[in-house]
Amino acid sequence: MKQSVTVSKTADLKVSSALKILVSRLNIKAPKFNPNTIFKKVVVPILSILLFIGLWHVGARSLYNIEADFKIEKALADQGQAAADSMAACIASGDISCQPNTLPSPAQVWDSFNTLIADHQVISADKLAFKDKTAALNEKRIAEGKDPITYTGRPSFVDQIFTSLKTVFAGFLLAFMIAVPIGIVIGLSQTLRNSFNWLIQVFKPVSPVVWLLLVFMIVKTMTKDSNQDSAFIISFISVGLCAMWATLVNTAMGVSSVDKDYINVAKVLKLKPLQKVFKVILPSSLPLIFTGLRITLSVAWMVLIAIELLAQSPGLGSFVWEEFQNGANDSNSKIIVAMFVIGIIGFLLDRIMLTIQNMVSFNKNAAT
């Protein structure tokens, strides 16, 4: 914990105590060296990961062989024995030009991951150099009232991840700002709940693609005059609209189903309406609101990829789509890398939300 801290002693203490709090909040327990728990918590998961990779490798290998045999047979049928032999030799030599195109093996995916990281380093170095080169010029341009020159090169994989995160957070924030207040208001009134119910029930199951088209129709018209890129706006609004329903429904449910005892206490004490909302109703519905927000965030991350893909908005979704269209030799393995990255980030986002949920919740046994 203290390894990374090399500043003065007081700062060291501060940081390490902050870390300790963080660690305790995240429910990371100091490992106890009990062989049984180590086996269960460390050895078994590692074994299962190894098994997964092993099965994947075997599966990828056999798919590769099927594809390779097919290629050789096709060459034999079309061009005769000589062509088939040279195809077999070509495949065996590992030449990129004639490799069968199928599910990549774990090793190939790992190579692609390293390629993507290396590519990112090249691009960031390039960006930095560009920035240095144009710094003086940009200052001059700003002084003259012109727009500065920006780097317009290809974004790296890591840049795409951050773009996606930016979009998902913008969408999540939008969902939060729409769904929580509306949820509270309709939760408080049975009449409003009845009158909004059809709307919620009808729009909740609508597919992300349809939301995207709807938002596209509206935003396209609204941003007609401005020449800025509307893809980001379209995609984050679509993400927000797709994902907000869980929060809306959960908030309304939490607010409307506050324990009757608490309501009775509020009635006996004759709390004023606002006091009742802020001191009794909201705190008691916080756990459900956060459950809703957690679902919203994971839905947002899930639909984001599809929406980016369709909206031509930069990010992981368009990365996957471009790689698929590209059809280069390592495209398939890059897609698998993106798949893992998407999955891991989704998992981390969910963990963060769970931690926040546990922090605000008075009920300490929230579902994991």
Partner: protein, 275 residues
């Protein structure tokens, strides 16, 4: 006994005689009807009960006879179908802090500390007091129920018995005219129940707030009450019998148990319930 002193004077209801200026809580011809698809279900009918100032009344009756319905009607949480309920002659209009309630479950806000729970009511009832004065009031009552060390404990960190102590402190701290207790110790084990009865009666001896308490426990009913009110079984439940308990206050459990009338009272109540 107050009742004996005033028996000779005026007013006459349901066979019991009181002058009106001694009456804190007045239930007249109270009726509660729940409409059902098969017609109206009458829970309470022709229920008359007058409770005096500084009187502790316990109400006993079979489960489902409408005791809790009656109490929540007094609290204003349940609308009255017919008849009236008056506090010091003024008909009640909905719930209010003049009638403090101790619920069967402690009903503390679990996200608040013990002190915050008590302050919730105190802040509402004494809006003109300074912050520290209100805190002092809340702390005083928490001390009274034996929770000096638990001011800043979250409600969820307290045991059921401790939570109910906070409930008692919360109810007394708002200085109500009437205290309504709906089987407050029903969910506790007998040891904790005894402790809490002692705490309740100790505070009550100091504050003398008119109290109406529902209980299932015959011994509890006798130990705490000036009068035990017996309700008939529903539907159409009303007051079946009233038993004045003439033990002197302050009482101790030992003195009550050793008193020669104790088993007479007990037999009376059990005969009524088994009837």
């Amino acid at each position: 006994m107050v009742i004996d002193q005033i028996k000779t004077k005026e007013a006459h209801h349901n066979g019991i005689v009181y002058p009106s200026d001694k009456v804190m809580l007045d239930l007249r011809d109270l009726k509660k009807v729940y409409p059902t698809p098969k017609g109206d279900y009458v829970v309470l009918e022709h229920l008359n009960l007058q409770i005096l100032k500084e009187e502790f009344v316990t109400i006993i009756g079979h489960s489902g006879c409408g005791k809790t319905t009656m109490l929540s009607m007094i609290a204003g949480l349940n609308p009255i179908s017919a008849g009236k309920i008056a506090v010091l002659g003024n008909p009640i209009k909905g719930p209010g802090p003049d009638r403090g309630v101790i619920f069967q479950s402690p009903s503390l806000m679990p996200w608040m500390t013990a002190l915050q729970n008590v302050l919730l009511g105190v802040n509402r009832v004494f809006p003109h007091a300074s912050k520290s004065q209100r805190k002092d009031i809340a702390k005083y009552y928490l001390q009274k129920v034996g929770l000096e060390g638990a001011f800043h404990k979250k409600a969820t960190e307290l045991s059921q018995g401790m939570q109910q102590r906070v409930g008692i402190a919360r109810a007394f701290a708002i200085k109500p005219k009437v205290l309504l207790l709906d089987e407050p110790f029903g969910m506790l084990d007998s040891l904790t129940r005894g402790e809490l009865q002692d705490i309740l009666i100790e505070i009550w001896n100091k504050e003398k707030i008119t109290a109406v308490m529902i209980t299932h426990d015959v011994d509890e009913a006798i130990f705490l009450a000036d009068r035990v009110v017996m309700m008939t079984s529903g539907p159409r439940a009303k007051i079946g019998d009233v038993l004045p308990i003439d033990f002197k206050r302050p009482r101790t459990r030992k003195s009550v148990l050793e008193h020669e009338d104790y088993y007479k009272y007990r037999k009376h109540l059990i005969d009524f319930l088994e009837h």
